[in-house]
Symmetry: C4
């Protein structure tokens, strides 16, 4: 077994057993109000939440972002997720495929996703630091082929690695490697964070490097700093555990990240994830400028609670809530939801001001920056 695998098991176990949600940060979705319309002028049944993503049609702009692979249990989880998204017309990603690239006998734990979801959107996954440490276009192609992926996600996780004694913390050349991959690979490249957020600056770098799909994975949901805090404590490394708790509020809240990524990359496809916990969160994310929303931790928790069944119930609830949110805000389609009236709270407004994002473009009036529908079929 490789070095990677047991650590991944560690992670899954901790995220299921312990509270790994940000305790010092929130998504700031609570600072976003979708204005209620007493006269919505649509019918709930008539609401259309569908969107095209990577050349395929989703019934709703919801995906399960990459989490697992590399061991037997992971294979079961990946299949359960795959079956649910296949049935509901949603999308999914697999976890980092590094383990299988290092040890091909583990490939089945990823490819099972495609087997269980023959037609759904499925996304391959590889870590950014690996690109610096030698992975190239060849490994990425292997990862894509392994699962018949519709796109490949490169994940950034500087915040997490910084709190691992053995962490991969060389981010000096990452953006160049991403540019190389983006220009060489045949499939669309997604760059995603893992729970601490892609903001203005990173989104600008990524867009300039040719990346057209960004999953912000902001702060407010799973906190990898907190996961590492548990691990450090368990290993008796008090210094790292204390340091991790010092940084408990580090990260860009998801709502802020969506606004900033959209501001920095107006023509990109923006995926809002990190602490998305309801279809109302999904709706808020879209009204803020996202195209699609992603969810991770609740899906693994649902699996632990009740397998595929529970995953499907969770995703169905998200879709139902999104549709109700669209209805109650008078939005018959995602394009209308994107233009729906919102009220932003004080914290988000003052952050936007500090960051040079002009709130007027997000409030009271057409949000001209966004080109609805253009972003998410970049093939």
């Amino acid at each position: 077994m490789t070095l990677t695998s047991p650590r991944k098991l560690d992670h899954i176990r901790i995220t299921i057993d312990s509270n790994v949600s940000h305790d010092g940060a929130s998504t700031l979705f609570e600072d976003v109000t979708l204005v209620y319309k007493a006269l919505p002028e649509v019918s709930l049944n008539g609401v259309d939440a569908s969107i095209e993503f990577l050349g395929k049609k989703l019934s709703a702009p919801i995906m399960v972002t990459g989490m697992t692979g590399g061991h037997a249990v992971a294979a079961k989880i990946n299949c359960a997720i795959a079956k649910a998204v296949e049935e509901l017309g949603l999308a999914m990603g697999v976890g980092s495929q590094r383990a299988a690239l290092e040890n091909p006998s583990l490939s089945y734990t990823f490819s099972v996703a495609r087997k269980c979801a023959p037609s759904a959107v499925i996304i391959a996954n590889i870590g950014a630091p690996q690109l610096v440490k030698g992975y190239g276009i060849e490994e990425i192609r292997k990862a894509v082929e392994m699962i018949g992926a519709d796109a490949v996600a490169i994940h950034l996780n500087a915040a997490q690695e910084a709190f691992q004694p053995e962490g991969d913390t060389d981010y000096a050349g990452v953006i160049e490697r991403i540019r190389d991959v983006a220009s060489a690979i045949e499939k669309p490249v997604i760059v995603k964070e893992t729970g601490h957020g892609i903001g203005l600056e990173a989104a600008r770098l990524l867009r300039a490097a040719g990346v057209r799909i960004i999953d912000v994975a902001g702060a407010g949901g799973t906190s990898w700093i907190r996961v590492e805090q548990y691990r450090a404590r368990a290993k008796g490394n008090e210094m790292l555990a204390t340091a991790a708790s010092t940084f408990s509020s580090t990260g860009i809240p998801t709502a802020q990240a969506v606004v900033e990524a959209r501001w920095a990359a107006p023509d990109a496809c923006i995926i809002a994830s990190g602490g998305v916990r309801s279809g109302l969160d999904v709706a808020k994310a879209i009204a803020l400028g996202a195209d699609i929303a992603g969810v991770a931790l609740p899906v693994i928790n649902a699996y632990a609670r009740g397998g595929e069944e529970a995953i499907r119930a969770l995703l169905e609830r998200l879709v139902t809530e999104l549709r109700i949110a669209m209805f109650l805000s008078g939005s018959g389609s995602l394009a209308e939801l994107r233009g729906a009236d919102i009220v932003l709270g004080h914290r988000l407004l003052s952050i936007m001001k500090a960051r040079g994002v002009e709130p007027e473009l997000y409030l009271n009036g057409p949000r001209v920056l966004f080109k609805p529908g253009s972003g998410c079929s970049p093939v």
Copy 2:
């Protein structure tokens, strides 16, 4: 018995037995301060709180908004309310008359209101979705005649219906049907919400459709989403119960709704309701631009506690508090109260800004938009 009736009983029972107040939203009346005048230049006894409404004179701008009918208990409640408002010179509405229109033998449960209040303002009631599902001018006339109504209220409740499996969620044609009714019917038409609020956009649509009386019924008091949450849980529908709790803060707070409705419909008669719990709330609502205030849940709770007696005590307290609020703000009449000095808190101010309502017109100076007294006698 019709489908409607047992559901209504359900509702009454839940509102009395459980806490059905918004837990995620407030009226924002706490963000409104009536400035205390150490030298009010009036006497408390000289304060005149009377207003003309629907051609009749009220001793104070307070009404009990529509709640019940359709079964024997409801008849008793309607009579108790009627006696109290008759005695005190206030106004009342009955609950949705759909049950009686479907089953005429239930008419007495509504008409009892007129019997017990021969001269008071009484308002008929019908649901907006019914208009789309076939009700027309004929049914509305029947509802009016059934109780000798002074006006008819059409209620909007999209938020509630969205959380009923059997919900009437077709709001596509509602505004056209309202326009039809408003132009054809002989009595004034009130359009009211039921606890989630009529804001800027709906008020504009309604005014353009010829409606001249709007009861905003905003968020902060009775939450129908919460009522449906109890019902869904009781029926084992966990998904809908969870979804309902997701939307626990949905709705336009009453203070905001009053400001927005007044802004959108300067010449309309605005009724402020939803979470009005004291005469001080009534006074604040009027200073914000409302003509009349309405109260529902506390009245049903008072009935449960002590019948007609308790209803009268409640309404008397509201009147006394309103008069004290007028005295302490130096307002000898409702017209003066409307121009009274107020200070708005941060949340309400920033919502107004986000919604394009100019706070300067509400603060420090004559609020020129409002034509005191013009709105509430539209006959």
Copy 3:
């Protein structure tokens, strides 16, 4: 015994036994920060807190505002206060002298103040509603003579009277009567509130009526609405008790009242009272524009705890704290304290904006409106 006396005893008892502080309002002094100076450029011993008031010199700008009289216990309290202020070089007022005017045998309960404080500033007291109900220049002269007063205070208490079944709530002609008194009487007239605050409008009316000394007695300390709430509850008047609790946050916070009164009456002598509980509060009040600060409830509580001794300890602490506050803000004199650097919090700033008071004139720079020292010797 007159009607007035037992009610006054009631009041004293309640204020000592129960918590009668505003629970819905604060003074907003917590929104005022005196900027700390690491290099104060003065010595603590060199700080001069003295001021001339009504032609006499006070060692510090602190007075005990009027509270009692009319019964034997009151006489003891008045003497205890008098001895303490005589010794410390401060000022005091007596409570409403109505009881003694109605029943001259009670005069000694007031005149004892002058006996126990032969040279201190002592202020007579009469209620504004009495002026409307027939009191004239003659009664006021009697009140002044009764105690050899240096000035006479007319108190306003609309908020309190509104919650008494037997309340004097005719404020229609009060301002004219005050004008009459101010032009006819030989001694300076102070108009004071009793704990709910004199704001912009009342201060303007008073200044125009010839009043040159205003004691704002704002909200945040003793709440007379709360006192009446206890009394109503004790008498079984649930309606009035509930109404009183509805208005628990009514009143103009003292810090706001000082700013507004100073704004409205730049050349008046402003006394800041209502919730003044430390010498730091005194210092903040002066930095906001007051000339003198007053304290009431803590003095009566000190008496209950330890008689004259405790009153003196309390007042000594206030003086010490004021001097420390002057030292730490680098203010060698009250004139310098008035120009000391302050930072205002959000709530006070937004209230000032709403009320048309320009914060710039209170922050960063000379506060030109104030003419230090001019106000408080208006004889």
Copy 4:
């Protein structure tokens, strides 16, 4: 033994045994967010946190500010701190040397620092009031020579002295004495507070007096007013104890003090201390404009817990956290950290506005005022 010594022991004991942190004020570091960079473009190992200070190179901009001396225990503490900073390449100050100047047999309790840290930056210490009471250039030279100091710190503690019955509260001539010292002495002069903060005005005075190194020692960490509160209570001086608690929020929060000192003295070397509790605080201080950060109380607590070992672990954690903060904000050097993107919270922003500091110069764009590196080698 001198008068000074037992009081110092008192202080050490209280700070270790009781909670002496400000309870009414915070550093406001919680109002400063270093923006997370998902693509930091540096490697954690490549981060360079070194800085030149007083002609020597520090591995990180962290010092232990002066605390102790004057008795046997203090000698042990000074040596333990000295060993830790020598090993880690940091700096330290000793406590007030007054005791040794008064009683030369105590010199060893200070000079031990140089013995235990032959090459580290060590700073001498003397109180400002002593300068007024007769100390001159000669005593300061003695203090410097006693420990082979690289600089001498003059501490200001008006807030503390004001709450001592025996306090030295003559600050009238302090700034002149500091000017004299600064122009005469051969070593650089640091002026420092002791936990209540040097703000705009004091920083301006100091810079004009020729001081080029300012340690703001702001509010939010150790509160000397609180220490004196314990002492007064222990001695039965209730009046002073109560007065001290009245002033529990007095002082300029450290984040504010850094901003103000930098604003007032753009070319000075600014040391940020007072409540610095993590390397993230250090990083925030530097992003706000400080050059170096100082820590006191946690070091004495660490000593009490585990001697030199614990001090080293504490300081190592601070360095590690600082480096992580630099990495996660994309800062390869302190100069880059100083220009790192930050978001300021509402309180700090409104204080800056009230104090005439322009937030634009601290947000979104190069902070031109700061000349990185210029300030801290003023020899």
